[in-house]
Structure formats: structure tokens, C-alpha cells
């Protein structure tokens, strides 16, 4: 069923129509084969991002002045949701790319916006967001990848270390990297935009994952990578604050993507339930099964409301960190439950690769883990609720 959307403008309606058209013509016909192939032999659908970039879907939430679409989060996120209902890996990629532009867009100088942001928002480029490390996942304050001044007149830096589980690694044009510039714990981190062609930047083998195969994830290895001083975004030591603020927005992208994934699992289950005959009638005619579908619908609708509430607070310039964490928790848990139930509705067929239910289930799992595990979301929420 097509989601009912309240949108703030005619252009937003046209934008959703455009997104649905691209999903129907370019994404849905390819997703099954591409995910299956990438499971065996890692491959990244860079051409799909070219299509999205040309259509202007890779820069929606940023200012038109720098090449963005000037859209509120409320609209941008519903585009992400639509994309996720067609191809989850790609929706995650769109969300991650949007996140990579966040530091320059929010704390960059005008010169950096001119030099870096216009390219990031052009639709041609794709970014990677390098925060996690093998020994610093949830606890990002413990990261060890380090930038040291190279002593040159140009205030250059040299980065050494490694980042783990980095989406788009090896395919990105630039790497928005959070690294240590002093030993002062969480206050000792800084943000750099490292060009993809930088000397000394290499990548580990693609991780062999449970799903989301077209989101290529690798280690990013900084083997004495020189970086110009004008690629330090914000001030030295501001990295943690930038990363956390970026994640508030980024996790809304994941919340929206999880909602789209849940919607498509629900759609699949509902249509199967109406067709599949057992005991001489469609299985949907059994209340025990119909109520499962009702619970799935309630979960999806609730998830959508949760992320849109946080987005509207953000768009209004209000605090939204707690609501973003609530949305991430609710939407991704909803995706896990709905995809699990979708397999149940499809029965044996749901457990086979002849239907996408099992793929959706595998894709749902990671949404509870990345951009802050759901335990970390509870940490954020409880701190907000219990503070003072």
C-alpha cells in the first residue's frame, strides 16, 4: 500500500512522485539480483547513486546556496523512506552520504563550503563517514586514530590509524574522518575531510556481512596520510561535538530507512496473505493471521509518526536529540519485528530466497546496531529524561 503522506508543499509532492518513479524504474527491478550477487562477490551499485545524484536526491536537506535542495528534514526523510521501501542498501547509502556533508555544512567556513560542500552536494560525489574503530564502537571517545601537525607552513596534518565498518569505503570520493588531535579524551577529537585520492589511504577487504550486501563496508587505513590544514572542519577539539550532532540527524535517516523497509515487508505480507489459500480460504481470512498484519501496520504507522515528530522539531529549530533517539529505537525495532512477522506470514516461502522477506529480515537487523546501537539510544533517552 502506498503510504499516506502529509507534505508541506507542492514541490514535496512532486519530489515524492519523482522518487517513486525512480524506485519503480531503476531500483525495484534490480534489488534482488544485485543483493544476491553482492553476497557472493562484493559489488557496489555506484551507478544507482549517479542516477539519484543527477535527480538531486543526494543533497536534499542542505541549503540551495551551496547546491542543496533546501528541503526540510520532514521531506528529505520521507524520500529516504521511499527509497528504503525499494532498496534498503541504497537508502542507507543516501543517509550516510547526507551525514558526510553535515560537518562542513554546519561548522565549515564559507571558503570550505565553496571548496568542499559544493562538490559534496553536486550529485557526482559520494562520501564516507569515518567514526568507528575496531576498539572504539559505541565508545567513540576512546578512538586512537591520530592526526599530528606536519610542521609545514600550510598547517598540514598527518593522519595515522584505522577505522572499522566504514560504508562506501573504497568507493567514496572523500572521507569525513573523526580523529584524535590531543589526549584529552572526548575533547581531543577533530574532524577532517580527507580526499579519496589521498596518499597512504587504503582499505581492508570488504566485510562479509549478514545482509545489506550492496552497502560495501571495509576498514579505512590511514597509513601516514597527509591532509591540508584547510581540511580541518570546525576547531581542534570540536570533533566529538560535531560527530554527536551529526548522529542526531543521521539516526533520523536510519529511522526513516527502517520505516520504509518495514513498510515493504508489510506490503509483501499483506498481498501474500490475500492470495495464499489454506483450508479452502485465503490465510488472511483467519483472524489470528489478520491481527498479525494489523500489528504490523500499527508498528509501521507508529514508526513513521515517531521519526516525523523528531524531524519537525528539528525543522522548527527546536531540540530534537531525545526524539531522534526515540525514533531510531522505535523505527528499527519496528523493522525487526515487522520483517520477522513477514516471514511468519509467508511461512515456508518466507524462509526461502524466492521471496524478499528473509532479505528484509537480515537488513533490518543492522539498523538496531549502526549509528548508535539501540542500547546507546536508550542511554541518550534516559539521560535526557532523568537529567536535572
Amino acid at each position: 500500500m502506498v503510504a499516506t503522506r502529509l507534505l508541506p508543499s507542492e514541490e514535496a509532492h512532486d519530489l515524492i512522485d519523482l522518487t517513486r518513479e525512480i524506485c519503480d524504474k531503476e531500483l525495484r527491478p534490480r534489488v534482488d539480483a544485485a543483493e544476491a550477487a553482492a553476497a557472493v562477490d562484493p559489488q557496489f551499485p555506484r551507478d544507482v547513486y549517479k542516477i539519484l545524484g543527477r535527480a538531486g536526491l543526494l543533497s536534499l536537506p542542505y541549503a540551495e546556496e551551496w547546491g542543496g535542495g533546501g528541503q526540510p528534514y520532514e521531506v528529505y526523510l520521507q524520500v529516504v523512506e521511499e527509497i528504503a521501501s525499494a532498496w534498503m542498501s541504497v537508502a542507507v547509502g543516501v543517509s550516510v552520504h547526507s551525514l558526510t556533508a553535515y560537518p562542513v555544512a554546519t561548522v565549515g567556513t564559507d571558503a570550505q563550503k565553496q571548496a568542499l560542500l559544493t562538490g559534496m552536494l553536486s550529485g557526482d560525489q559520494l562520501g564516507a563517514y569515518c567514526l568507528s574503530e575496531p576498539l572504539a564502537g559505541s565508545d567513540i571517545g576512546s578512538m586512537t586514530t591520530r592526526a599530528t601537525p606536519d610542521g609545514s607552513a600550510g598547517d598540514g596534518w598527518t593522519i595515522k590509524g584505522r577505522k572499522a565498518w566504514i560504508s562506501h569505503a573504497g568507493h567514496a570520493d572523500y572521507y569525513t574522518s573523526f580523529v584524535r588531535t590531543s589526549d584529552d579524551g572526548g575533547r581531543g577529537l577533530s574532524c577532517f575531510v580527507v580526499p579519496g585520492v589521498a596518499a597512504g589511504l587504503t582499505f581492508g577487504a570488504p566485510e562479509r556481512k549478514m545482509g545489506l550486501h550492496c552497502d560495501t563496508v571495509r576498514e579505512v587505513i590511514y597509513d601516514t596520510v597527509p591532509v591540508d590544514g584547510d581540511r580541518l572542519v570546525g576547531t581542534e577539539g570540536q570533533g566529538m561535538a560535531i560527530a554527536l550532532a551529526a548522529l542526531d540527524s543521521g539516526r533520523l535517516g536510519i529511522a526513516a530507512a527502517a520505516t520504509g523497509l518495514a513498510q515493504s515487508a508489510l506490503d509483501l505480507a499483506a498481498s501474500y496473505a490475500k492470495d495464499r489459500m489454506q483450508f479452502g480460504r485465503p490465510i488472511a481470512d483467519n483472524q489470528g493471521l489478520a491481527f498479525m498484519v494489523a500489528d504490523m501496520e500499527a508498528a509501521v504507522t507508529g514508526a513513521r509518526a515517531a521519526y516525523l515528530h523528531a524531524a519537525r522539531l528539528k525543522d522548527a529549530g527546536r531540540a530534537f536529540s531525545k526524539e531522534a533517539a526515540v525514533a531510531k529505537l522505535l523505527c528499527t525495532d519496528a523493522a525487526m519485528r515487522v520483517t520477522t512477522d513477514a516471514i511468519q506470514v509467508l511461512g515456508g516461502a518466507g524462509y526461502t530466497q524466492d521471496f524478499p522477506a528473509e532479505r528484509m529480515f537480515r537488513e533490518a537487523k543492522v539498523t538496531q546496531i549502526f549509528e548508535g546501537t539501540n542500547q546507546i539510544q536508550r542511554l541518550v533517552i534516559s539521560r535526557h529524561v532523568l537529567k536535572g
Binding site: L18, I22, K25, R54, L57
Partner: protein, 260 residues
């Protein structure tokens, strides 16, 4: 080079298509519609030609209020301006009348160097409007182009047939209808969506074109749909139980149906 592209608003093939009970015409009002996909190729070809040189692309449609959506899509893709001919009297028009209205609209737009149309509409699929329109405008008609190039004052197309491909050359101005092999229509972009909001869309009635209402509409149509029957629901196929002779039974079935 100035190009006029004729586009049609058609019922979405994804949803149920119906006829009006009262006059047996295609129901265009109560259903979701869109720019005929075959016309996207015409718009794309015009945009490519203008982008490679200079000039303007004007899209024109004859249709009800909702047909504005087809124009909007073409403008979002990049066309410069649009003309919407709408008039209650046009309802029920056949290809002859449609070509008359289009011809008068194109004359009023100016004298384009090229008129491009799709090879057919996805609802009527008659393919005759381009030929009739060329005749009315006194232009050479080069139809079913799978490849098109302009060289000075001539247009050259390739028309692919079952047995051979023809190369056809005509002088400009000309009318060309294009097939779905000619290009890969672009998607609109978000910038295109924003830009389209500011592009001019003119609305003309029959009176603006000097066409008399008696020349168009259901009454003037040379052909009419007398009746229609809904396609019968699909019946369950024949199930062959395999008692060891399944293969033979299958072959017999296929033979009886003249499939083998």
C-alpha cells in the same frame, strides 16, 4: 532550432482502465493519469537537440484539466514552455479532430523547425495522429524514427522494419515521430521540479485557435465506440494430473492449442 513536442495525458497503465458508461469514451477523469511513456522519448529527443545547439522546446497537449500533469512532467524534464488546449467541446474527439486542434495550436505557437511526437499513445495506440498532423501542417512526415540527426536544413532518421532498416532524409521543417528505441528518457531532477514552477503554461480554448466546436468532439468523430465488453475474468487453467503420462498429456494439450 525551435521544436514543438506533442504530448498526451493517458490513464496510468498500472491501474484499472475503464470507459465512461454514458458515451463509451476512455475515462480520463476518474483515474490516475500521466504523461504517455512513449511521449517521454519525444521530449527527451527534443531536449537533446536543443541542448546540443540552441532554441526552445515547447510542449503542447490537447486534453482535460488533469492533462496539465503531462505538461508539468515535460517541463520538469527540461522543456521551456507549454501550451494546454482544453475545451469541453473536445471531449470524445477522434484522431482526425485531435490532429486538427494540434495543427492549429502549432500554427499559433509559431513555425517550429521540427515537430516531434511519440510513435503512438499508450492508450489509443493508433499511430495516426503524427501522419494526419504532418498533412495538415504541410510538413514532410518521417515516422517511427529509432535514430535522428539534424544536418543544417535536413533531418535524417532510421526506421527499423522487420526485414530492413531504412534511412530517410527530409528537409526542415518536418514532423518526426520517434520510437522507444531512440533514447533513454531522463528523469526530472529536483532542480527541474523547482524550475518548472516558473515556466509559462498557456491555456487555449477552441475559440483561440479559430476551430469551430462542430469540427471536434464525439459528434464530429468519424468513428465511434458502439459498445464495449469488460474483459472476462481469468479462468483457472486446466490441471493435468501426472499418472506417469504427464508429458504426453502436456504435449497433447499444446498440440490442441496449436502451440506446437
Amino acid at each position: 532550432m525551435n521544436i514543438v513536442v506533442c504530448v498526451k495525458y493517458v490513464p496510468d497503465a498500472q491501474s484499472d482502465r475503464t470507459f465512461n458508461e454514458s458515451d463509451n469514451t476512455t475515462d480520463r477523469v476518474g483515474v490516475d493519469g500521466l504523461l504517455s511513456e512513449l511521449d517521454e522519448y519525444a521530449v527527451e529527443e527534443a531536449l537533446k537537440l536543443v541542448e546540443a545547439g540552441e532554441g526552445e522546446v515547447t510542449v503542447v497537449t490537447v486534453g482535460p484539466d488533469q492533462a496539465a500533469d503531462a505538461l508539468k512532467k515535460a517541463l520538469q524534464m527540461g522543456a521551456d514552455k507549454a501550451v494546454h488546449v482544453k475545451d469541453d467541446a473536445i471531449h470524445g474527439s477522434d484522431a482526425v479532430a485531435t490532429s486538427l486542434v494540434l495543427a492549429e495550436a502549432i500554427k499559433k505557437i509559431g513555425s517550429p523547425d521540427l515537430v516531434i511526437t511519440g510513435m503512438a499513445s499508450t492508450d489509443g495506440t493508433m499511430s495516426v495522429v503524427p501522419a494526419m498532423l504532418a498533412e495538415r501542417l504541410g510538413l514532410p512526415q518521417v515516422t517511427f524514427a529509432s535514430e535522428l540527426s539534424i544536418d543544417g536544413s535536413t533531418v535524417t532518421i532510421r526506421r527499423d522494419g522487420d526485414a530492413a532498416s531504412e534511412t530517410i532524409v527530409a528537409t526542415l521543417p518536418a514532423l518526426v515521430s520517434v520510437t522507444d528505441q531512440i533514447n533513454e528518457p531522463r528523469f526530472p531532477s529536483f532542480k527541474g521540479i523547482m524550475a518548472a514552477k516558473k515556466k509559462p503554461v498557456e491555456e487555449w480554448a477552441l475559440a483561440d485557435l479559430g476551430v469551430d466546436a462542430s469540427q471536434v468532439g464525439l459528434e464530429a468523430a468519424w468513428s465511434k465506440v458502439e459498445s464495449f465488453t469488460k474483459r472476462p475474468p481469468r479462468e483457472q487453467g486446466q490441471i493435468v494430473t501426472d499418472d506417469g503420462d504427464g508429458g504426453t498429456k502436456l504435449a497433447e494439450f499444446l498440440y490442441a492449442q496449436k502451440f506446437v
